[in-house]
Structures are given as structure tokens and as C-alpha cells.
């Protein structure tokens, strides 16, 4: 029989396919299902059917979206927010589901907690009612966000109907310059293919610059797949992946771990496997990137100027640029380094892991921030590690607030909002109008670039600030 070459994604897909319908939809088995406060719609749906969670052992609850980042020892002041956190507690208790709740030392943002606990493994299929579930793909995992009806379906059956996405490979070869982070690579990719460039596709990131990334960097990269429109993003597992997983609380141990590594080593795409689409970028050409507009593909190198609609030939594009610049209060053609900021935020499932905090701290050490800002670690465990390393002191000494872990100002539903009209340099993933609060203006960038903006009071190139520093 002829051997047919398969991509990483093909292998993940076929190992989860239970059945296929005539119209092409496949029933897939779900290995891990994460729920958070926002999953209440899904729980209401199953309750309305008089049903319970089918596989409580494969379901994990995490309190992140609505949790306060201050005064955790006190009761939550806002009754509506308190109710969201309480509902998650109740739904997980009623169904025998493990919860990393508000006062659990393992609490954190769902896409940080999964990998940290060893729940995220290569070769698994992971879903969560959150679009940034793509993050977990960093391990060579098929991970994607689903809506409430699908959450209910998974809760009741531990399976999901899906149509197989197309396969897209994004290759980044070469060596990135000093001060360039995974976030810069991701934003450069999104700017290149656009916010809907990967729609309907499963992305595999490949190339020497990707292989060189740590797990933290790969998580950031895969996290942002959704901002390129991708259904999911993934990196083939390798020695970096296995070393990260080894010894984590929920990871396989001993002989089972050895067996797993053997199996995982067969996951990478076969050498001659074909993709439906190929894109490639040169790592050496990537500069620190910031966004200027209201979608993540409005991204430019820091030394560039904002676009000028008058120079656009396409009228629809010109009108889009006018609207985005207007919302962002940026003059056409203005140098990006002239854009003054009002505050900074370091946090979110994109960039709040220990390496992210170290990168920001390396810039802030011995310096003061010119603007107020909030630092919310990706998980409570990341928070204690950072404190052991003394990073909290660096942030505090710089004048920034050191807070508890949660989604916080990424989406603002816990009350951490950017005030109307203010401009925030942010390590998050969405610069949509109103994302960080009504009328708030968001510039996306890497943690080191946020630190550089904090120190400068305006968008700034971090590279000169790193001279003589260990990063």
C-alpha cells in the first residue's frame, strides 16, 4: 500500500475521528474541555435538558474572565460579577468538575493554567468556549474555541461535529534580531496575511525561527492565530515541548511519559506532506511591531508612520483608515514614536507568562514608568514565581501596580477598564474599538515594547533600551 504523507494536523484529526457523515462533517472525540464563568450559557442548556456533564474527569473549570485582580480576600463588591463567579462554582460542584477557582493557588487564565498543569499535551484535542483556545496548539495539540451550543454538546457527549479545515503552513526561517519577541513575529504574520487571512484554515507554524522559540513564545504565537482568522494554530512537538511537560502535575509520569514521547515524536508533518496554502516570512526582517488601528492587522514596525488615507487608491480602504485613525486619535502620517500613551497593561493569555514578565522587567529595572499601569500575571503560580524572582519589586519600583491573576484589562469585564478616551499600550490580543472599555484606545505590542512605552511615555523602540542589559 502506498504511504500517504500527512501533516501534523491530518494526524491530529484522524486520531480523533469517531465517524463521518455524508455531508462531510466528522464526529470528533474531545480529550479536554475547559470551562470558565462565560460557559454559563452552555451549562444552562444542559440543565434545561435535564442532563449532567458526561465526562467530569475530562472537564476543568477555571475562574478567570470575571475575577477581581484586587482585594481577593474580600467578597466581590459588584453583585453581578460575584454572581458570574458563583455560578461557575455551582455548575462545577453540581457536575463533579475540578475547578481552579478564585482562591485556588493554581487559578489563572485558562490558556495559561492548562499548559502549566500538564493538562495540555501533544496529540490531544482541546476545546473551550473561548476563541484563544488556539493557544494550546503550541504543544502540537488540536485546540480551538467553540460557542455556547458547542460547549453544551461537549458537556453532554464529550464529542463535537466539525468540518475539516484546510491546512496552511506559515514558515518563518532565519534568526530574529535582539529584542524581537514571539509577539512581533505573530503581529508581523497577521499584518502580512490580514485579520481574515487564515479563515477556514488550521495553521501550522514551522521554520527555524519557530523551532528556536521557547514554549512561552510558541504559546503567544498560537494564541494569536485567531487574530489572523485561523481556526487553530500549532507547532510540532519537539524536545522543547517534552522538557516543558515533564513532571507537570497532570502530565503522564514514568513509563507512560516515555511511551507518550515516543508517540508524540511521530506527530510532526511528514517531510513531503502537502498544505493547501503556504506562506513564508524572513525572521531577520522583523522589527518590533505595534498596532496603530482597530484590528490586529493594523500593525507596523515601530519606526514607521501611521498610514495616510489620502495616499490610498482604494476608496473602501481609505475610508477604513480614516475611521480607524479617527477612533484612535492619530493624525494621518504621524510617526508612531510620537504617539503619547496614558497607561500600560501587561497581562492576558497572550503575554503574561513568566518569560513575558521577565522581558518587561528587564526593560523596567532601575527605571520609572511615566504613566500608570497594571501588571496582572497569567496565573497565580506565575505570580508567585515572579515574586520569588523579585520581578514584582521591579514593577512596583517602576510605579506600576502588581495585581492578582485574571483576564483583567484584556476585556475589562471584571471592572479593570481603560477609561474612555485614554490610550493604553497593552500586551493583549485585541485592539478592537471598545475592547478595553468604551472609547478606550489600544495599541498591541510585546511585553518589552510595553515596558519601553511606559518608560518613554509614548510608543518607543525597545532595542536601544536593552543596550548593556541581560535579556
Amino acid at each position: 500500500m502506498r504511504h500517504t504523507s500527512q501533516t501534523l494536523f491530518d494526524k491530529l484529526w484522524s486520531s480523533h475521528e469517531i465517524a463521518r457523515r455524508e455531508d462531510g462533517a466528522a464526529l470528533l472525540f474531545v480529550d479536554r474541555h475547559f470551562v470558565h464563568e462565560g460557559s454559563f450559557h452552555g451549562f444552562s442548556q444542559i440543565k434545561a435538558r435535564g442532563r449532567k456533564v458526561a465526562e467530569p474527569n475530562l472537564t476543568f473549570g477555571v475562574a478567570d474572565h470575571y475575577v477581581p485582580t484586587h482585594d481577593r480576600d474580600k467578597a466581590i463588591a459588584n453583585p453581578e460579577i460575584a454572581e458570574m463567579v458563583r455560578k461557575l462554582e455551582q455548575n462545577t460542584i453540581d457536575n463533579g468538575v475540578t475547578l481552579f477557582g478564585l482562591r485556588d493557588r493554581r487559578q489563572g487564565i485558562v490558556h495559561v493554567v492548562g499548559p502549566e498543569q500538564g493538562l495540555t499535551l501533544p496529540g490531544l484535542l482541546i476545546v473551550c468556549g473561548d476563541s484563544h483556545t488556539s493557544t494550546h496548539g503550541a504543544f502540537g495539540t488540536y485546540a480551538f474555541g467553540i460557542g455556547a451550543s458547542e460547549v453544551a454538546h461537549v458537556l453532554m457527549t464529550q464529542t463535537l461535529w466539525q468540518k475539516k479545515p484546510k491546512r496552511m503552513r506559515i514558515t518563518v526561517d532565519g534568526q530574529t534580531g535582539a529584542g524581537i519577541a514571539a509577539k512581533d513575529i505573530a503581529l508581523a504574520i497577521i499584518a502580512h496575511i490580514h485579520a481574515d487571512g487564515a479563515q477556514g484554515h488550521a495553521i501550522e507554524y514551522a521554520g527555524s525561527a519557530i523551532r528556536a522559540l521557547s514554549m512561552e513564545g510558541r504559546l503567544t504565537l498560537c494564541n494569536l492565530s485567531i487574530e489572523a482568522g485561523g481556526r487553530c494554530g500549532m507547532v510540532a512537538p519537539d524536545a522543547t515541548t517534552f522538557a516543558y511537560i515533564k513532571g507537570r502535575p497532570y502530565a503522564p509520569q514514568g513509563e507512560l511519559f516515555e511511551r507518550a514521547v515516543e508517540d508524540w515524536s511521530r506527530l510532526p508533518s511528514d517531510a513531503d506532506a502537502e498544505f493547501d496554502r503556504e506562506v513564508s516570512l524572513d525572521a531577520g526582517a522583523i522589527a518590533p511591531v505595534v498596532t496603530w488601528g482597530t484590528t490586529p492587522d493594523d500593525a507596523l514596525p515601530i519606526d514607521a508612520s501611521a498610514p495616510d488615507p489620502a495616499r490610498e487608491t482604494d476608496e473602501a480602504r481609505a475610508s477604513y483608515i480614516r475611521d480607524a485613525l479617527d477612533y484612535m486619535a492619530i493624525r494621518p502620517g504621524m510617526k508612531l514614536t510620537d504617539v503619547a500613551i496614558d497607561r500600560v497593561f501587561i497581562g492576558s493569555c497572550t503575554n503574561a507568562r513568566i518569560e513575558d514578565l521577565r522581558a518587561a522587567a528587564a526593560v523596567l529595572a532601575g527605571r520609572r514608568s511615566k504613566v500608570p499601569g497594571l501588571v496582572s500575571p497569567g496565573s497565580s503560580l506565575v505570580k508567585s514565581q515572579a515574586e520569588q524572582e523579585g520581578l514584582d519589586r521591579i514593577f512596583r519600583d517602576a510605579g506600576l501596580e502588581w495585581a492578582e491573576s485574571g483576564c483583567s484589562m484584556c476585556v475589562g469585564i471584571n471592572g479593570d477598564l481603560v477609561p474612555e478616551g485614554e490610550r493604553c499600550a497593552s500586551t493583549t490580543n485585541r485592539n478592537f474599538k471598545g475592547r478595553q472599555g468604551r472609547g478606550a484606545r489600544t495599541h498591541l505590542m510585546s511585553p518589552a515594547m510595553v515596558a519601553a512605552a511606559a518608560v518613554s511615555g509614548h510608543l518607543a523602540d525597545v532595542r536601544p533600551m536593552l543596550a548593556g542589559r541581560k535579556v
Partner: protein
């Protein structure tokens, strides 16, 4: 869920690209249970000012389109977060079909589960349709799912939708019932999977 076959209705143009789920339903309304009526806050922050007054310029606020059941949007409609409540807001407002050059993947999947049709046409066709109804709001648009056509005046366009979504919308299928009929296959899969991926189980 309600099925979708054919609809003739007023169509409202909303031609900006990238109207994401944060714009469709701002995050602060995600706490609302559905029975509170999410239709009332559809597009809230682009439809009303900070004091809650309607912005006269926003198409859905114009008398001619207030009761539109079809939206003609720009590319990448519904990109962004996975919030299904964005679909609830669109549906609860009374809209049954969104026509656009492209949709956020998760938004499109969520729409199918709720009986909302997302019909994909080319950029040029979307622009043409939007211009036609902007010129004459009283001109009804007919969307036929079985035929995969959109008719506006004397022009007919075909639209794309994947066969899986089409099937489900036409039949108003409930996934869970369907899945239950695969019980045995699921059991067989799990049996075999325990051998092939013993490490996939929870490690403790």
C-alpha cells in the same frame, strides 16, 4: 432550533469591514441571561452614544431599516471572540440572515446552531447589494437556502455556504440527538483509543 429555507425581507446595509463580536455585542452584556432580550443591545456601542441615545446615522436606527431581517455587511463579519451571545443578539433583534464577503469561523458555526444564515458572496457582490438597498430601502431581498441564491430587484446572486451548515439549517437539526445515535461508535472509539493513546487519559 428553527430551520431556514427561504426569506423575503427588508435588508439593511452595514458595509464596514471587520465588524467583530465586540462590536456586535460589547463584553459588558455577556452577563445577561438570554431571556433578558439581547436584541435590545445589538451593536450597542456603535448604535448608541455613551448616554444611550440612538445615533441617527447608524443604518439600523433609520426607520426604513429598523425592522430589517437581513443584514448586508462587510468582510470578516463576526471575527473575534467566540461569544455565541453575539449571535443571540443578532437573532433576537429579528435578523435571520447576514450576507457578507466573509465571516469569522466561530461566528459562522454559532449562527448555524441558532438558525441564523450566514451567506458568503464576493466583495463586489456585497458592495452591489448594499448599494442597491441603500438606494431603495423598500426593495426587498429574497434569500433561498436550497437554491443558494439571493435575489434583489432583477439581479440574482449565488452564495456560498458549506454543505454541513446548509444541511443543518435546512433541517433545523439538533446535534445532540444526532450524536446520541452514534453511541456505539463512540464506545468503540474509546475502547481502541485506550490502547493507542494510553497517555491521553488524565495523568492522576
Amino acid at each position: 432550533m428553527d430551520n431556514f429555507t427561504r426569506l423575503t425581507a427588508t435588508a439593511c446595509p452595514l458595509p464596514q469591514p471587520n465588524i467583530n463580536t465586540d462590536a456586535i455585542l460589547p463584553a459588558r452584556f455577556l452577563k445577561w441571561p438570554r431571556d433578558k432580550g439581547l436584541g435590545s443591545v445589538l451593536f450597542n456601542d456603535i448604535r448608541r452614544d455613551a448616554d444611550g441615545n440612538e445615533l441617527a446615522d447608524f443604518p439600523l436606527n433609520k426607520p426604513a431599516w429598523r425592522n430589517a431581517q437581513i443584514l448586508i455587511a462587510g468582510r470578516n463579519f463576526g471575527g473575534g471572540s467566540s461569544r455565541e451571545a453575539a449571535v443571540y443578539a443578532v437573532y433576537d433583534y429579528g435578523i435571520r440572515c447576514v450576507i457578507a464577503p466573509s465571516f469569522g469561523d466561530i461566528f459562522a458555526q454559532n449562527s448555524v446552531k441558532n438558525g441564523l444564515l450566514t451567506a458568503a458572496v464576493s466583495d463586489a457582490e456585497a458592495a452591489e447589494l448594499a448599494a442597491a438597498v441603500a438606494a431603495d430601502p423598500s426593495r426587498a431581498v429574497t434569500v433561498d437556502l436550497d437554491e443558494q441564491t439571493i435575489t434583489c430587484g432583477n439581479r440574482t446572486y449565488s452564495f456560498a455556504i458549506d454543505p454541513v451548515s446548509k444541511n443543518q439549517l435546512l433541517n433545523g437539526w439538533d446535534d445532540v440527538d444526532l450524536t446520541e445515535s452514534f453511541r456505539q461508535k463512540i464506545e468503540d472509539y474509546r475502547e481502541a483509543d485506550r490502547q493507542s493513546r494510553p497517555w491521553a487519559a488524565i495523568g492522576r
